[in-house]
Amino acid sequence: MLENKYQVLVGPEGYLPPAAASRGIALPDKGQALVEGEIVSEQEAMSKIAEKILQAKNPFFFPGPLLLWDWKEGVAEKAKAVKALADLAGTRIIPMPDYRPKYPMINPAIEINPNHPNLTIWHNKIDLCVFIGVHCHYANVALKIIRGGTDCYTIALCGEAGHEDAMISLRDVGLEQLERLAEAVGRLKGAASA
């Protein structure tokens, strides 16, 4: 086989980028994370996320239905932590309230849809986005489309096993991980302003 090792890098990658899992990128085990296709420690990935968010010109959080609805114990606290993290990092928020395609088209200024996420990214000139609370299947569908057609850097904070199709992905993200991520952002901001 003459295939090179695949890397999950910022796009635009082209007409139809592959699923990273089909090119040999494996999901991390517990306590680990993915950075651009490489397995790293969770802490290292958190530092990288903080660095990327603070370097970005126009970063956004894209919270999905699993975070937007108070559907099980702990979600409301998690949502508050995400809002606090976004405020701390100076990122704005555009929700992905559901997954239905909207015709003739969504209003890209106020929402994002997994079937055409590039419209919202182009419209708002977003150079970094953080997925959280998006059902895994829809997140992966969207992450590939973003990689294919935009130059937006993608981060996925997943409550389950993580996302190979994001440039950085944490797994098993709960309140504790969000608080540690906020600490990493706070540390880096403090260092930068010192």
């Binding site: 086989m1 139809l16 592959p18 699923a19 990273a20 899992a21 089909s22 494996a26 999901l27 239905p65 699993l66 937007l68 609805w69 108070d70 559907w71 099980k72 559901d98 997954y99 239905r100 395609p101 015709y103 997994p114 079937n115 055409h116 590039n118 419209l119 059902h135 895994c136 299947h137 829809y138 992966n140 569908v141 969207a142 590939k144 489309i145 294919g148 057609g149 389950e160 096993a161 993580g162 190979e164 199709d165």
Partner: protein, 381 residues
């Protein structure tokens, strides 16, 4: 009904003391489903599968399953189980042969909708003139539907693979249907020693809250998350979304590899893997190959065996590496098209090594001597 306690999959599969029973493959299905904490089973009879779902009906009557009914036909059954799975419950069914083909539209629909349905396929001939006898041709058609495919050599495999299939299917990053295939009659209707965990144990319940797509029971928030098709419009982004969706289904299958490794001990099992002549087989062709290898040994011929347990995902890399040092790779099959030989040829670097023989079909048995003939021929070349 014996009261059951929920245990971890690891306890049920690896730690519980097992009892040996001398039972048919169909009875092994019953014993697996009894311990699988299944919410609903839906049946439709077709030989040689009928007995399995009949026995599953018996354990519904005993209280091991919450709901059980007979569908109108196989297409209706496969549609009904998809509705049940979409609503967020654990569901089981079985079919085989012409039943598989009658229901065929639903299999890519299951995987496309990320439904963790477990279905036992008891394979039989599908082509006219009618036969009810074993033949694995239907598996060729299922290879590209997006469902995961495990192939049982015997009743023990059938029992273990079924139980483990629920765990693999329901992993959030996989969340795909799993077909567990057994060669009809050879496995379903013959008795074999099967080691089984105690009946007072069962798997944990399915948690639809971890699904990669929302369950559609209209009560679990966020409700109204219908999976509207985006192909209703003719534009590039609709096509791109559909393409990305299909890629994600295949990616989910790739993610199953590590769970098959940990639960089934790998996608393949090997014996004498450094031998010059390798046999690559799945299902009952493995059992026949074991006999042939013993016969060859008595003639002084050393032959290796690669038992393929998982067909989707396919162990391409494992087979490529094993075949690299072999002089010949013999692929015996119970069908006329040789779908496994095609899969093996797509994996190895030197396809001229692959011998797609012997093949028997239409219900014929495969005498081990046929495989030995191929071994002799390869050893003389």
């Amino acid at each position: 009904m014996i009261e059951q306690k929920v245990v971890t999959p690891e306890q049920l599969f690896f730690e519980a003391e097992r009892e040996e029973q001398f039972i048919t493959g169909s009875e092994a299905v019953r014993e697996a489903i009894k311990r699988a904490n299944v919410d609903m089973a839906i049946s439709y009879p077709i030989t040689p599968q009928s007995e399995s779902m009949h026995l599953v009906g018996d354990i519904f009557a005993e209280g091991y399953i919450k709901e059980y009914f007979r569908g109108e036909n196989e297409f209706a059954v496969m549609s009904a189980v998809s509705g049940a799975a979409m609503a967020g419950i654990r569901v089981f069914t079985a079919t085989g042969g012409p039943g598989t083909l009658r229901a065929f539209e639903m299999f890519p629909a299951w995987s496309g909708a990320r439904l963790p349905i477990v279905c036992a396929f008891m394979t039989r001939g599908i082509n006219s003139p009618l036969t009810i006898q074993p033949d694995t041709l239907e598996m060729a058609y299922l290879l590209d539907t997006g469902i995961l495919m495990l192939h049982a050599e015997n009743a023990q495999d059938l029992h273990d693979m079924l139980l483990k299939a629920f765990v693999i299917a329901e992993k959030p990053e996989v969340h795909l249907p799993v077909g567990v295939f057994a060669d009809g009659f050879f496995v379903t209707h013959t008795r074999d020693k099967v080691n089984i965990a105690p009946v007072d144990m069962k798997l944990p319940a399915y948690d639809p809250g971890c699904s990669p797509v929302p369950a559609m029971d209209m009560e679990t928030v966020p409700v109204r998350q219908m999976r509207d098709p985006f192909v209703m419009k003719s534009n590039f982004i609709s096509y791109a979304a559909h393409a990305s969706w299909q890629q994600e289904v295949l990616a989910a299958g790739e993610r199953a590899r590590k769970h098959i490794d940990s639960l089934l001990g790998g996608l393949i099992e090997t014996e004498n893997e450094d031998a010059d002549i390798l046999i690559v087989a799945s299902g009952t062709a493995v059992a026949q190959s074991r006999e042939a290898i013993d016969l060859a040994k008595s003639e002084g011929l050393r032959v290796g065996l690669v038992k393929v347990k998982s067909l989707r995902p396919f162990p391409s890399e494992e087979i490529r590496k094993l075949a690299a040092n072999a002089k010949a790779v013999i692929v015996p099959e119970f069908n006329r098209v040789g779908w496994l030989a095609r899969e093996v040829m797509s994996s190895v670097e030197d396809t001229t090594k692959v011998v797609g023989a012997p093949r028997v079909f239409g219900g014929m048995t495969m005498p081990p001597q046929l495989i030995v003939d191929e071994i002799r021929r390869c050893s003389h070349e």
